[in-house]
């Protein structure tokens, strides 16, 4: 079983390098400021040998979005969760981590498509599932279900 590193310990390590980046931590996760995300991610990738990005998830908390990065070291068999918040609802932008983990490419596009969060520095920031011209981002809590094709929503 992969050992989950303790959030406060990793936060302390990051804090020595980036004093303003940390906004908090809990048992398994470290919260960082979104502007400092790329620098922090690069730092812990190297210092903790986190060679694998399991997944990126976006959560809509209505007053802000939260991005969750599950990171694992396949070599050292440990992992940590990195979280960042984005308070801008109209035009949310977060730095892309594709330059660190190639696997982030499609996942960031998926988040852009369904949640409407742009990733700065992504090589190909466009919709992945829905088509060009689709109105809105369907996984947002305030998305209204209007069925294309004329049918009425049964929900």
């Amino acid at each position: 079983m992969t050992k989950q590193l303790s959030g406060p310990e990793v936060a302390q390590q990051i804090g020595e390098q980036f004093p303003d980046a940390i906004t908090g931590s809990d048992e398994t996760a470290v919260f960082v400021r979104s502007e400092a995300l790329l620098g922090v991610a690069r730092f812990i990738k190297e210092s903790l040998n986190l060679d694998y990005l399991n997944s990126i998830t976006a959560v809509d908390y209505i007053d802000h979005f939260e991005l969750v990065y599950h990171l694992t070291s396949l070599e050292n068999n440990h992992g940590i969760i990195l979280k960042t918040k984005c308070h801008d609802r109209e035009n949310p932008i977060v730095p892309s981590v594709v330059s660190l983990w190639q696997g982030a490419d499609f996942q960031e596009r998926e988040i852009y498509d369904l949640m409407g969060i742009s990733f700065e520095g992504h090589p190909n920031m466009k919709r992945i599932f829905l088509w060009d011209g689709f109105q809105g981002h369907p996984l947002r809590k305030d998305f209204h279900l209007d069925v294309p094709g004329g049918g009425k929503s049964s929900l």
């Binding site: 466009k126 919709r127 599932f129 829905l130 088509w131 060009d132 011209g133 689709f134 369907p138 998305f143 279900l145 209007d146 069925v147 294309p148 094709g149 004329g150 049918g151 929503s153 049964s154 929900l155």
Partner: protein, 194 residues
């Protein structure tokens, strides 16, 4: 020298988006189910009666489906094709990847708006006579995804459907019953259409 790219991906995206939007706008009313075969007893052409019977018999046992497994129903379709249920008994084991060689479009699974233009194009490429079998709740009506933003609420908005096989997913027995109903319909298909 600068090499000219054969296409620009953002242009392709725009074309695709416009095609899907146009299809959504054009797909407000379902196609009526083809039911003219039901009153064939009255309208049967006496001259062709026995020829039609023989050709109909030949046609019904050589229906080649085009592979259109879109979601989980495809596994039941594959199950029905494999040795246990074996629908090659009906002369329809040859799943064709080319619509030009197929008579039946076996739509198994959830149809999304992004897939719909491709499905319609494949249907248009099939040679007449052609039939469509809608397998499973999602294909028939959108199923439990009917209220979704991305799912077509009914295959008959896109193409006319000959046989509906309900279920989630239907078992191979159900699919085979659907085939038998389709065979009845194929056998009664008129050689000369009005």
């Amino acid at each position: 020298m600068e090499i000219e790219k054969p296409y620009v991906s953002s242009e392709l995206d725009k074309t695709e988006g416009a095609e899907i939007e146009a299809l959504i706008a054009a797909s407000k009313e379902p196609y009526p189910d083809p039911v003219s075969w039901l009153d064939e007893e009255i309208q049967r052409n006496v001259l062709l009666a026995s020829t039609e019977h023989i050709i109909g018999w030949a046609k019904r046992f050589s229906v080649w489906p085009v592979a259109m497994g879109l979601a989980c129903c495809a596994f039941e379709m594959i199950g029905a094709a494999a040795s246990r249920f074996d629908f090659s008994r009906f002369g329809m084991e040859v799943f064709r990847a080319s619509p030009r060689q197929a008579d039946l479009m076996l739509v198994a699974g959830t149809l999304t708006w992004k897939m719909a233009p491709a499905l319609k194009r494949i249907y248009d490429q099939m040679a007449e006579p052609k039939w469509v079998l809608a397998m499973g709740a999602c294909t028939i009506s959108g199923g439990c995804f009917r209220g979704s933003y991305s799912v077509v609420p009914g295959l008959n908005l896109i193409v006319p459907v000959d046989v509906y096989v309900p279920g989630c997913p239907p078992r191979p027995e159900g699919l085979i019953y659907g085939f038998m109903e389709l065979h009845r319909k194929v056998a009664k298909d008129k050689l000369i259409k009005k």
